[in-house]
Amino acid sequence: MLVLRRRAGEAILLGDDIEIEVVEISRTRVKLGVKAPRNLPVLRREAAAVAGENKASALASGDDIQNILRLLRNSTCQA
């Protein structure tokens, strides 16, 4: 991993199309500004994992819905 030190207002470049600027630094967080092509998703790392989950959720089938309902109704019956 390449590690660079930047102050607020300074930036780094990734290739020709991507710029990351340190907008603000607080005691516990850094605010970053990202300029990148619109077709390049820019995500927090934890959001990238969620993206995969969301895609899987959106691909659920009609059979999946019935299975989910069956499981939920098992839960209700046991309540």
């Binding site: 934890e46 959106a58 019956c77 046991q78």
Partner: protein
């Protein structure tokens, strides 16, 4: 389409869904997602749908793409002790006050996306869909690990996943 532009659309429209067929979209009933959600950054409008035969599920159907339909449950039905801290960036996206307590059911509604697995269902309570109940602005709030994942097993119990 911006939220303001969508607010000016007063005619009822139809929304097609791969699960639910043709749905009527009453003006003002859709949720507006300024930033989409991870993996679906171009999805800015979802129609919430509840169908008696499928209760307690809540479907979030894309108004643009029939093949994009998320299956959800209110988070409170999975974990009654669920709590969420909405950060300033997410509050700004959702049009919420920058500070102050947010009351579930009054200010916001949290939905959990369901992920079907073989014989089970999983949901990530660290990535709820949060809806501003006053403006219908919506976003997926991704938390650093606080509530964890839950799995609904064959015996009908929601179990915390490690």
């Amino acid at each position: 389409m911006t939220a303001e532009a969508m607010a000016t659309v007063r005619v009822q429209t139809k929304v097609r869904s791969r699960f639910l067929g043709e749905l009527s979209n009453e003006p003002g009933s859709e949720l507006f997602l300024p930033a989409g959600i991870p993996g679906f950054e171009s999805e800015h409008s979802l129609l919430p749908v509840e169908i008696p035969a499928y209760r307690p599920l809540v479907f979030l159907q894309s108004t643009e793409r029939p093949d994009v339909c998320f299956i959800c449950l209110p988070v409170s039905s999975i974990d009654p002790d669920f709590s969420i801290v909405v950060g300033e960036d997410d509050r700004a996206t959702l049009g919420l006050p920058a500070e102050g307590e947010l009351v579930a059911g009054e200010d916001i509604l949290c939905l959990a996306l369901l992920l079907p697995l073989p014989g089970a269902v999983r949901t990530n309570l660290d990535a709820p869909i949060v809806i501003n109940l006053r403006t219908y602005l919506c976003a997926q709030v991704v938390l650093t690990r606080c509530n964890g994942s839950r799995r609904l097993a064959a015996d009908g119990r929601w179990e915390r996943e490690c």
